[in-house]
């Protein structure tokens, strides 16, 4: 198997007396989709916040590209090319698609915007993900549907040339057709040789896109399996704690 882009070993995190992460291992590979599943309170959000540098881990080792790294703040994470697409879409409604895509990293020349270049890059990023539903890159985000917004949020990571993209519940608020679209987008993102971690409660989605499934249960990684070698029932069992995974971590 290839080298993982990111690999966590024995990561811990506690809030006061509460141990939220009790030695978690996780790997994500370039060009592959890794699903992170687990019940509410299993520690998924805490694990992600650590990767984003928002809430640094207390202990354990993080290797990125084989090198030990210290994710102590969001800037460090984004320098490495780690991008988190949050559930409550971090987009500004009153700005257009281009403005949102480049928010915080605008292309300027002599202190003023190079709008043409930003438009071109936006268009290119959306095309790379085969987005067909956006009519104009100058549309205001407020006029977009839920799926289109998710698309814009995900496409931001292409602009940033991110190497690890973490999607937090990307399909939670979407209907059937739009869920299909976003899942297609996730696959295409992985095809760009990006390592993708997707958090989802929807196991149907997980089985559709993920190459690997990692299950968190009460702060421990209880199973890391290859999707093709497991079943729906097994995964539900790991999530609820009624089944124990006995094999080697995938």
């Amino acid at each position: 198997m290839d080298e993982p882009l990111i690999s966590l070993t024995g990561v811990t995190k506690s809030f006061g007396p509460v141990d939220v992460l009790r030695g978690v291992d996780l790997k994500a590979y370039p060009g592959k989709v890794t699903a992170l599943v687990g019940d509410n309170g299993a520690g998924k959000s805490t694990l992600i916040k650590g990767l984003a540098g928002v809430q640094p881990y207390d202990g354990g080792e993080v290797r990125f590209d084989g090198e030990v790294v210290n994710l102590h703040n969001p800037r460090e994470a984004s320098r490495l090319g780690i991008e988190v697409v949050y559930q409550d879409l971090a987009l500004a409604d009153n700005l257009d698609i281009v403005q949102n895509m480049f928010l915080g990293r605008e292309e300027t020349k002599w202190g003023t915007f190079d709008e043409g270049r930003m438009e071109l890059e936006t268009s290119r990023a959306l095309r790379q993900l085969s987005v067909r539903t956006v009519k104009s890159v100058r549309q205001k985000v407020s006029s977009l549907s839920g799926g289109q917004r998710q698309t814009v949020a995900i496409a931001r990571s292409v602009i940033n040339r991110s190497r690890l993209v973490i999607l937090d519940e990307p399909t939670a608020a979407l209907g059937v057709a739009q869920t299909e679209q976003v899942l297609g987008l996730v696959k295409r993102l992985a095809e760009q040789n990006v390592a993708v971690i997707i958090i989802s409660h929807n196991l149907a989605d997980v089985f559709q896109v993920a190459d690997y499934i990692s299950v968190l249960y009460l702060g421990r990684m209880v199973a890391s399996v290859t999707t093709s070698e497991t079943t729906y029932d097994d995964v539900v069992g790991y999530i609820t704690g009624s089944k124990t995974y006995s094999g080697e971590p995938a």
Partner: protein
């Protein structure tokens, strides 16, 4: 987007336009397509300043019919100087309103600055420009003070600025003394509102405006061409330039007529006009083309999104209050130039009219939407009501009532257009 709107969207058939080589950017097609796209945006709820401009036209026609004096060159010049203070205050407030904040102390901040200015000049015999510098420094310091408490400490701007609104009224009394009144004697200060450019000066001003409008448009086009993205049809640039030239030409032409009543000739563009236009242009440039402006809109639209994108939200907020207070001082400078004196009530009553000007012009109090031009147009609408009703010799009470009505009407238009943008009114 609200949950209902999102649900409604997901069940709707998705538009599937032809997949071109590049995704459009709204500049494609000829004039016809552009006009269609414009009306589509209007229907989508992006009304901008259109309701205010409509109001301006309706009020203009109404007063022109009702009063024979309304359309005279003299009244036209009066209208410009009468509205200048409010235009500047409205523009000042846009910077904080775009954040969804408010500055109730904008009027009295300018008032305190002018009280300090006049006492320094009149009593302590300071140099005018030095004293004026102190006035502006007071504005900057006040803005910094408000910004600290709002952006850093996290107190609602309404509370902080209400406190200052009350406190600064007291400070004005302390500086000037109860019942005190100082006359403005410096000719340079009085000139702002009372003197005019020479006739040729007005035409030079117009020429500069036309050249800037043309230069910026073609600079943008050259840049876009270099980036390899399409441009709007070039005819649209010429339409805009000709519109600026024609409207500006009519205004400057009217102001170049002798509007004096006695032997003294009064003609030319009032000096306050180029000052206001310059500040409007610079402010718009900052808001549209620099990172600061973009981040101001982003923070007003979704502060959390801006923060996650690496925008320094606290600094953006802080600076907005500093700009607002600074321009508020300019506004009160205009005011004392027109009135010719400073008393302890300077800037007390105008601030809510400034907020009204912004809202009437289409600036959203919820933040994130609006432009400086909108506030300027809104201010002229309010000034035209005062001016027109004054010419009709109606009591001041009617003026307040009509202004209030227009404000509520404008807020309603804004709310309805927002509902249309969200779409819930149609789909429920």
């Amino acid at each position: 987007m609200s949950t209902e709107a999102r649900e409604a969207e997901t069940t709707e058939a998705l538009p599937d336009p032809m997949v071109a080589d590049m995704i459009g950017s709204g500049v494609e097609g000829g004039i016809g397509d552009q006009v269609r796209a414009y009306f589509q945006r209007l229907r989508g709820g992006e009304m901008g300043a259109l309701p205010a401009i409509g109001g301006l036209v309706v009020l203009g026609i109404l007063f022109a019919i009702l009063s024979p004096y309304f359309l005279t060159e003299r009244n036209f010049a009066n209208l410009l100087t009468q509205s200048a203070t409010l235009v500047m205050l409205g523009m000042a407030l846009v910077f904080v309103i775009l954040l969804g904040e408010i500055d109730l102390s904008a009027g009295v901040t300018g008032g305190v600055a002018m009280c300090a200015f006049i006492v320094l000049v009149d009593v302590l015999k300071w140099n005018t420009w030095l004293a004026l510098g102190v006035g502006f420094a007071i504005g900057l310091a006040t803005g910094g003070f408000i910004g600290f408490f709002v952006a850093r400490v996290g107190i609602p701007s309404f509370v902080v600025t209400l406190g200052l609104f009350l406190g600064f009224q007291g400070l004005e009394l302390i500086i000037i003394g109860n019942g005190g009144l100082y006359n403005v004697q410096d000719p340079a200060i009085l000139a702002i509102m009372n003197n005019n450019l020479p006739i040729w000066g007005g035409w030079v001003m117009l020429a500069i405006m036309v050249l800037i409008s043309m230069g910026v448009s073609f600079w943008d086009r050259a840049r876009r061409r270099r980036a390899g993205v399409p441009n709007r049809a070039v005819i649209l640039v010429w339409i805009k330039v000709v519109a600026v030239a024609v409207v500006g030409g009519v205004v400057v032409g009217l102001l170049s007529q002798n509007r004096g009543t006695g032997f003294v000739k009064v003609e030319g563009v009032p000096i306050v006009v180029p000052i206001t236009l310059a500040i409007l242009w610079i402010g718009t440039f900052v808001l549209d083309r620099t990172k600061y402006g973009r981040y101001l809109y982003a923070v007003g639209g979704n502060a959390e999104a801006a923060r996650r994108s690496g925008v320094k939200v606290i600094t953006i907020r802080w600076v907005a209050f500093v700009i607002c207070s600074f321009l508020a001082v300019v506004s009160q400078l205009f005011s004392i130039s027109k009135v010719g004196s400073v008393d302890p009530s300077a800037g007390v009553s105008i601030v809510l009219s400034g907020v009204a000007a912004a809202v009437v012009g289409g600036v959203s109090l919820f933040g994130g939407r609006g432009r400086l031009m909108h506030a300027a147009i809104g201010a002229v609408v309010i000034a035209i009501i005062t001016n027109g009703l004054g010419l009709l010799n109606l009591p001041a009470g009617v003026n307040y009532a009509v202004t209030g009505g227009v404000l509520i009407l404008a807020a309603t238009v804004d709310a309805v257009s927002r509902v249309r943008a969200g779409g819930s009114l149609f789909r429920r």
